[in-house]
């Protein structure tokens, strides 16, 4: 999986602007053939712009885009052989589901009967063959989603671009479609770029995740790498819910166990330690004293929102049966092995 695969998608130093304002800054991304890359980031990070630049709907102001080994930087959208599923689905309201799916084939002069047969096959593969004669206005959100997927895959493109396709669905359906999407990807062996702001979706779905922030790639890695070794403070805080706790390294919480290599306050600047809520224990003998502000119980888990003596907030995830109560005094402990250390000034990861 190392080195750019000529069969996939390569963004080489791509910059883009929207009405004169830079949106992407020299983005480098490589998606191998058959890989599912999730572009994750908060709104306004430029996630959709990445897709639109790949699709050719937005011009680049610098860099190159290569699809399946072809440089398509200046090519018009129709010549790139990519399919896109829009967040809004962008179904044609006046056409039936069958006509919607077959649209791309028919405008490419595929004979009508062949087009309809392939549309039916595509519809069957995403489970919407029963809807072929309906119009988009008669479909539920989940059904529209399937139709949009069928329309994307009927043409067998080099790259699938999915722009927050699950964001308009309710939670149960989202979870179901997420699994189906992954299964579809594995079955087709398709190269996919999936944009989302939902970190769970990214962790579940992706072969690799690219975390985007303010038009720059913060980190690219497998879901495991993103979770276990976040490259920046931003990635660490963005992935995980509730977000990772962050405290000054010379602050009130002194993690137990072997301390990491190097001094905690270096000459390169102050450091911060981060630890996820699930790494926190509330009954550490030598822990930092804290009081419980509120407790949220979510089934088996409970989230305790604490304030340290110095006023710093900390969130702990504990089993619901052993949850503390409001105004309880607790002692916050964490182990070095469960911490992440970042440079306070740059936000970059300090140790491996």
């Amino acid at each position: 999986m190392s080195g750019p695969d000529p069969g996939g998608l390569v963004l080489d130093g791509v910059s883009a602007a929207y009405r004169g304002t830079p949106v992407l800054h020299e983005v480098d991304l490589t998606v191998d053939r058959g890989e599912l890359l999730v572009v994750l980031g908060p709104s306004g990070a430029g996630k959709s712009t990445v897709l639109r630049v790949v699709a050719g709907l937005e011009p680049v102001t610098g860099g190159r885009v290569r699809i399946a080994g072809r440089d398509v930087t200046g090519s018009r959208p129709g010549r790139r052989n990519v399919s896109m599923v829009f967040q809004s689905y962008a179904l044609f309201p006046h056409l039936s589901v069958a006509e919607n799916i077959a649209f791309g084939l028919e405008v490419r002069d595929v004979p009508r009967r062949t087009a309809r047969e392939r549309a039916r096959a595509a519809a069957e593969s995403v489970g919407c063959a029963a809807l072929l004669d309906r119009r988009p206005g008669q479909l539920s959100g989940g059904e529209r989603q399937r139709v949009a997927l069928a329309r994307a895959l009927v043409r067998e493109p080099d790259v699938f671009l999915l722009d927050e396709p699950l964001s308009n669905l309710d939670l149960a359906l989202r979870v179901e479609m997420r699994a189906e999407l992954r299964a579809l990807h594995d079955r087709l062996g398709a190269t996919m770029v999936h944009v989302t702001h939902d970190q769970t979706e990214a962790l579940v779905l992706a072969d690799r995740i690219a975390v985007l922030r303010d038009g720059r790639v913060e980190q690219v890695g497998t879901p495991d790498e993103i979770w276990r070794t976040p490259a920046t403070r931003f990635v660490a805080r963005f992935v995980g819910s509730p977000a990772m706790n962050l405290l000054p390294a010379d602050g009130p919480v002194r993690p137990r166990g072997d301390s990491p290599p190097g001094a905690l306050v270096t000459d390169t600047g102050r450091l911060e330690i981060g630890f996820r809520p699930e790494a926190v224990t509330l009954d550490a003998a030598d822990g930092a004293p804290a009081t419980v502000d509120r407790v949220e119980v979510v089934g088996e888990d409970a989230y305790a929102y604490l304030t340290l003596a110095g006023g710093e907030p900390v969130v702990a995830r504990v089993p619901a049966v052993r949850r503390p109560h409001r105004d309880d005094s607790v002692r916050v402990g964490v182990r070095w092995a469960d911490t992440h250390v970042f440079h306070a000034a740059t936000g970059l990861r300090y140790r491996p």
Partner: protein, 304 residues
């Protein structure tokens, strides 16, 4: 889904509707009913009307001038209405994007509609002048002896029957400003992602127009066409009155509206004019009903 208004808001509604209803009843409905009644009388505005039953209507069927006016109006509607909508659609599709000069171009497309009708008519009287008018000057460029490049005589706009009818249609094409504005708004309200989708599928401009733009705009186009058919009975009046005065002989540009005007106000046959008006209204209603049925299938398209 409508909410039943309570007594208080109903009183307010009634209060606010009153001025409009008074105007509607006093200025439109009552005169219309009077006209309906007059259609069965003989009335010259001097002596009281006398009841003649269906005489006026039977007389209309034998009236060659009325028949000419009827045919003129139908031909005008059949030719001018589709052309007007097409011109407006073409301009709307050309000018819906933001680009340099688009604002001025939109203004220019609207301007002729804003010119007062009489002034607009007088303007065209000059434009149509067969010898000195700019239109024929233009048509003669490159030709010899006052002929066009193709060696044809330039149109005798206001003296040849066919050319005069074409002139009235030509005049009407430039007053499609309202239609243009509505189509511009309709085009701009179409979702952008649908067009991006089409671009990804490499659809040609013609495919996009035929398979997306036209069907999505069809409901609006249908509505505008219905409106234009109704309005076409009106906007033939001023051009025919000011520019051609119903001529050239034989009554080449006498449309129903002008026929009613001349019969009523010039020949003082008010009852007869009212009968012609009645026929005009019935025709309008028939046209609207037919079109509404033709376009019924376009309703409900906007449910996404």
């Amino acid at each position: 889904m409508s909410v039943r208004p309570d007594a208080r808001s109903r009183r307010q509604l009634a209060l606010m509707l009153t001025p409009y209803l008074v105007g509607l009843v006093g200025l439109v409905l009552l005169p219309a009913l009077v006209t309906l009644g007059l259609a069965f009388t003989e009335y010259d505005l001097l002596r009281p009307p006398t009841w003649v039953g269906l005489d006026n209507l039977t007389a209309l069927t034998d009236d060659p001038i009325f028949r000419v006016a009827l045919v003129n109006s139908l031909v005008f509607a059949l030719v001018a209405v589709p052309l007007r909508v097409l011109v407006a659609l073409g301009l709307a599709l050309l000018l819906h994007r933001r680009a340099l000069g688009v604002g001025s171009a939109r203004g220019a497309a609207l301007l002729p509609t804003a010119v007062p009708e009489i002034a607009y008519g007088l303007l065209w009287l000059w434009l149509f002048n067969p010898l000195y008018g700019p239109i024929n000057q233009l048509l003669r460029t490159g030709g010899e002896n006052g002929l066009t490049v193709l060696g044809r005589t330039p149109p005798q706009w206001l003296t040849d029957p066919t050319d005069a009818r074409a002139a009235i249609i030509l005049m009407s094409l430039f007053t499609m400003g309202e239609t243009f504005v509505v189509l511009l708004a309709a085009r701009r309200s179409l979702p952008r992602d649908v067009y991006e989708m089409a671009a990804l599928e490499d659809a040609t401009g013609w495919d996009v127009f035929r398979r997306i733009t036209l069907p999505l705009m069809a409901p609006v186009l249908a509505l505008l066409a219905v409106r234009d058919v109704v309005a076409s009975l009106h906007f033939t009046f001023v051009p025919a009155f000011v520019v051609t005065d119903g001529g050239p002989p034989p009554y080449s540009t006498t449309y129903l509206s002008l026929f009613v005007y001349q019969t009523g106000f010039e020949y003082l046959r008010y009852g007869y004019a009212a009968a012609a008006t009645l026929v005009m209204i019935l025709l309008t209603v028939a046209a609207v009903v037919v079109q509404w049925r033709l376009f019924r299938r376009y309703r409900g398209f906007y449910r996404l």
